[in-house]
Structures are given as C-alpha cells and as structure tokens.
C-alpha cells in the first residue's frame, strides 16, 4: 500500500472524543463513514474535511488517540483515503485501526519534523518508507498479523477470509 498526497501535521495527545470526532457521535450508532468525514479532526481544525484528498497523510505527534477509543473517526479516515503516520499511537488507536482496516505506521520518531503541513508526502505502509520533497525516513512497518488483517479490509473481512480458507476443498 503506497499513498501519495499531502501531509497534515497534528500535535501530541490527540483524543478520539472531541478532537478526532465530536463527542456527540460517540454516543450514537452512526457508523456511516460518508456522514462522519465532514466532522473528521474538526475538534482541532474545523476546515480539515475541506482540505483533504484521498492519498493524504495525517502526521501525528505522540500518543495519537488518547482517552476512550471509538471507531468513528477511523472509519472516516479510511473512507476519505487519509492514513496515519505518528510519532506514536496509543494501544487503543492501534487496535481500533487494525479492526476497521485503516493503514498506519505506529512508531515514527521524528516524523513530525520531517514533514511540513500541506506539503507533498508519500508513504509506503508495507516497507515503512516515508518521503517528502526534502527528505525521507524508514520506519518499522506493521508486523505480519495486523498487516494481514488490514489487507483483508477489516477484522470482520479477515475472519470471513479465514473461515473460507478453513472450508474443506471440493
């Protein structure tokens, strides 16, 4: 999975609730991503949904995804084709991103200094290579198990695939 687009830089400790997605969505069952995209990251940047295009990258600081975790914002990112590289992500973000099938590179020390807001960035999520107009770095990509789940589309799609593989042939 290789993306090419622009990078959008965020700070440390960005919370699921109120920052990635308004709190009101967390208490509703709205999981239709097209309805969630217009609110993505608006707790930090109200204009964010208008700026992004498929292939862009959210470049986050330390502990991306703090507080209680919910799938809403991650489903919106996936739908918009905007994936994540971060100095570090929380365990809650890590597990939720794998569950919904969102590409990310979890531990990229220095990546917020490598990137500039709104400028070009390409990311290879399989090799961990991140390139900007002025530099590049290689980080540890996801291990085999979470990668296989994201490649299947989501945890649910992965389970369906595994059950098919278990079926006796013929």
């Amino acid at each position: 999975m290789i993306t090419s687009g622009r990078s959008w830089i965020f700070g440390d400790d960005i919370a699921f609730d109120g920052e990635m997605m308004p709190v009101r969505f967390q208490k509703s069952d709205t999981l239709d991503p097209s309805k969630l995209v217009p609110f993505l990251m608006t707790g930090i940047d109200p204009n964010f949904p208008n700026k992004i295009k498929s292939g862009d990258t959210i470049v986050a600081g330390e502990a991306f995804g703090s507080g209680n975790f919910h799938p809403h914002a991650l489903l919106a990112m996936k739908h918009a084709g905007v994936y994540v590289v971060a100095e570090s992500v929380t365990r809650g973000f890590y597990r939720m991103a794998v569950a919904v099938g969102l590409w990310f590179i979890p531990f990229c020390p220095g990546v917020t200094r490598l990137a500039k807001d709104g400028e070009a960035m390409s990311v290879n999520y399989l090799t961990g290579e991140v390139k900007t107009a002025t530099g590049s770095a290689r980080y540890e990509p996801l291990p085999a198990i979470p990668r296989e789940i994201i490649e299947a589309g989501s945890e649910e799609q992965f389970v369906i695939k595994k059950l098919k593989e278990e079926q006796p042939h013929g």
Binding site: V23, A63, S66, G67, N68, F69, P71, T90, R91, G92, R95, M96, A99, V100, P143, A144, I145, P146, I149, E155, E156, F158, V159, I160, K162, L163
Partner: protein
C-alpha cells in the same frame, strides 16, 4: 536465543497460550483460557458473528455476565437483552449469569472461580485488568471480541513489564483504592502497552479485594494488564472458597523489565482524585470540606465486601447529611449476600443510604445520573466530565471510607476523623452542618 534470558510473568503466560516461547515485542496469536462479555456489548459482538454467518468456536470458554443494565431501563437495552437470550442458546453458551446470579463481570469471574491464577483471560470490557488481582493475565480487547469468538484466538503484542515491588503494610484507613491512586499518579501515562506486575512482601499481605481494586485502576494509565505474582498470605474469607491459591506465575530473576519501582505501603495515606482525570492523586486534605450532593460506593473499583464493610463502619449509629443522596451498590449478588449476612446492609440502610441491585449502573450514569450542579464523591472508576451524567457535574474519586464519611457530613471528609469523633466532633448528632 530467547532461552538465555529469563522470562516475565506475562511472557510465560502468553507463551503457554501461544504454544511456543515468545519474545517481548512479538505480535502473535494466543488462545485464551476464558473469554468474558457483558450484557451491554455481548449482543453487539454476537450480531457480528451472526452477520458473518459463523458460530462461536469455543462456547465452553465464554462467560456472559449481566452487569451494565440490571435492571434494564431503556428500549435499546431491552432489545439487546431479548436478542442475547436467544443467541446464547443458539450458540450453545451455557456460562451465563442472568440477573439474580449476576454481578460486575470482573468481580464475578473471580468470585465464581472461572478465572484462575496463571490463566489468560481476554474480555470485552475496559476494566478487565481487575482480574489480575488473582494472578490471571486479563487483557481488555474490545473491538477484537467478535473475531475472537469466531476464530477462538486473538492477536496481541507481547508487552514489556513494569515491576512494582510492595514493601510494608497499609496503615488503618488506607485502602486498595489509595494504593491504586498512588500508582497511577506515579506512572502518569507511561504505562501504555505495558503490564504492571506486583510483587514483594507487601503484595503478599494485600487481600483479594485490595488487589482487584489496584489492578482495576491500572487501566487509567493505559496499562494493558496488571497482575500479582503470588497469592494473598493472610486468612481468606469463606466467600473466596472458589478462588485458587495455586497456579500463580512468577518472573525469572534475570527477566528483563521496562522499569522497576519499589513502593512502601506504610508511607501511603488516603488520596483523592479530582476532576477531570483519575490519574492526578492528591492528599485528601486538598479537597476536605468541599460540599457534596451525591455519594456512590460501588463499581468494579469499589463495591467489594471490604468497601461495604468500610462504609458500614463509618455509618454505624450515624445518619447521612440532610438532602444527601447516597447509593451503595455491592459489586455482585454474592457480595450482596455476604453483606446481608454480616448485617452491613441493615447498617447502611438505617443510615439513610439507598442500596441498589448489583450493577455498573451509576458509574456510567445509567442509574442515579448527576445533574448540572451536582458534586459527587465516589469509588467509581473514572471522573471525566459527563461520565456519570451532566458534563458540568464534578466527580471526586476516593476510598469507600472517605465516601461514607462524606455522606455523613455532607462535605468531603477524612473518615478517620468521623470514627475518632470525640476529638473531632463529627459524631452522628453533630454531623449536620459540620
């Protein structure tokens, strides 16, 4: 290569569950010994299983415990409960704890002996960490639950461990809650991805109730789990007959730890966490005298028999302050029955407290929600705005004795002053307006 280096408790338990020797940092599949879901999310995960068209693979390893909505008081919850009952039969799930034999899932699986020392428990609720108090490795997995129900296994990263050695013993009036608050205050958010391992002579003298609360609170600093490496050495009450003392796992002396910390339990005092987050613990005196409108003693961090005993000791022969709302919720039906046998329920009800059926209810605002101007002191798990109702209500977290004393005086109060009433004038007759 891994054989040259000693292994942590977590490595040993996960290695058994994976069927091979594991190294810290590996991401692997593991088979749990026990899976747990509760009535608030079991229907959600079983709907996914049904949508896939699959069956629960190992129903004999799964327990479903009613705890969040007992009694159920909303339309969506009733639909879930009806669906759940049918689907438990459909999937052959027989370890089911319906209202009447129910309780907060993390407490119940300990009390009923379903979770054993040395076992791997993977469960849907955030506060699954609690179960580590009896030496099980218990990890919350939330969204991965449906996949685990179908595949019978789940993926995780083999975590690093922070080893915390307890020395000394708790002073009177200091409870498991205070140990938990002291530890999360000390660690801040440095525990993400890591497991807390409790060891040492002080750990051996912490009883099961204290241990469950200490492990429970580890989730507030992001710990993946928390675990004691040896059984309680004191006398175990009759209601813990099902809790095994065998099977605890210890780390090798040359195991590699992310950090080692020593805590002298005798140094600890009653603590309190004010809004908006639980991990900033302050001396109780910081907020002493602040008026409160509601008191809640319960939740998976504070409704054990020791908590109800502490409340009853403070409330005996006294009455709660005028206008105070005080809710006491034994964490499970078994704990409720033990409290009845010991006469604790009569004591607290005579003092003006309302005892609710065992559930998580008030902790997430499902029962007895707070209004805009309420100030609540509770043994609850969390205190972020809106957790127990209105986002403008304030929630303070403290031990059960502090909560009970605050119910008596109407203000945040050190229980030791109420119990020592001759010197402090806080007895039942002078409490109003004190």
């Amino acid at each position: 290569m891994g054989r040259d280096v000693g292994k942590t408790v977590v490595q040993k338990i996960l290695s058994r569950a994976a069927g091979r020797d594991l190294t810290i940092g590996e991401t692997v599949w593991v088979e749990p010994d026990l899976m747990v879901m509760h009535d608030r999310n079991a229907a959600r995960y079983l709907r996914v299983v049904n949508r896939i068209g699959a069956k629960v693979r190992n129903p004999e390893k799964l327990a479903i415990v009613y705890d969040h909505k007992v009694p159920c008081g909303d339309a969506a919850g009733i639909i879930d409960h009806v669906y759940l009952k049918a689907e438990m039969t459909n999937h052959g799930i027989t370890r089911v704890y319906l209202p009447g034999d129910h309780g907060i899932s993390h407490q119940l699986v300990v009390d009923k002996g379903l979770a054993q020392p040395g076992s791997l428990v993977l469960a849907s609720d955030t506060h699954t960490n609690t179960i580590g108090g009896i030496g099980a490795l218990a990890i919350p997995i939330s969204s991965g639950m449906a996949a685990m129900l179908v595949l019978g296994k789940h993926w995780l990263m083999v975590p690093e461990t922070i080893q915390i050695r307890f020395e000394g013993q708790l002073a009177p009036g200091v409870m498991g809650r205070d140990v938990g608050l002291a530890i999360i205050d000390m660690l801040g958010r440095k525990a993400d991805y890591k497991v807390l391992e409790f060891t040492g002579p002080g750990a051996a003298m912490l009883d099961i109730d204290q241990r469950l609360t200490i492990c429970n609170m580890s989730i507030e600093v992001g710990a993946k789990a928390a675990i004691f490496d040896a059984p309680y050495e004191g006398e175990v009450p009759a209601q813990y007959a099902s809790v095994s003392r065998e099977g605890y796992v210890t780390s090798d002396p040359d195991a590699v730890f992310a950090q080692k910390i020593t805590v002298d339990l005798s140094d600890l005092q009653p603590l309190i966490a004010g809004p908006p987050r639980p991990e900033v613990a302050l001396p109780l005196s910081t907020f002493e005298g602040k008026p409160v409108t509601q008191v809640y003693i319960g939740s998976c961090a504070g409704g054990r028999i020791e908590d109800i005993r502490a409340a009853a000791k403070v409330m005996k022969g006294r009455h709660i302050a005028e206008g105070m709302r005080c809710f006491i919720v034994p964490s499970s039906t078994d704990i409720y029955k033990a409290a009845l046998r010991e006469g604790l329920i009569e004591t607290v009800v005579s003092a003006g407290a309302v005892v609710l059926a065992s559930s998580c209810g008030p902790c997430f605002g499902y029962q007895a929600p707070l209004g805009d101007s309420d100030v609540c002191i509770a043994t609850a798990t969390r205190n972020e705005p809106g957790r127990m109702g209105s986002a403008s209500a304030e929630i303070y977290l403290a031990n059960a004795a502090t909560c009970a004393a605050s119910a008596i005086t109407g203000r945040i109060t050190d229980a030791r002053k109420v119990l020592d009433n001759n010197q402090n004038g806080y007895d039942s007759h002078t409490s109003k307006g004190a």
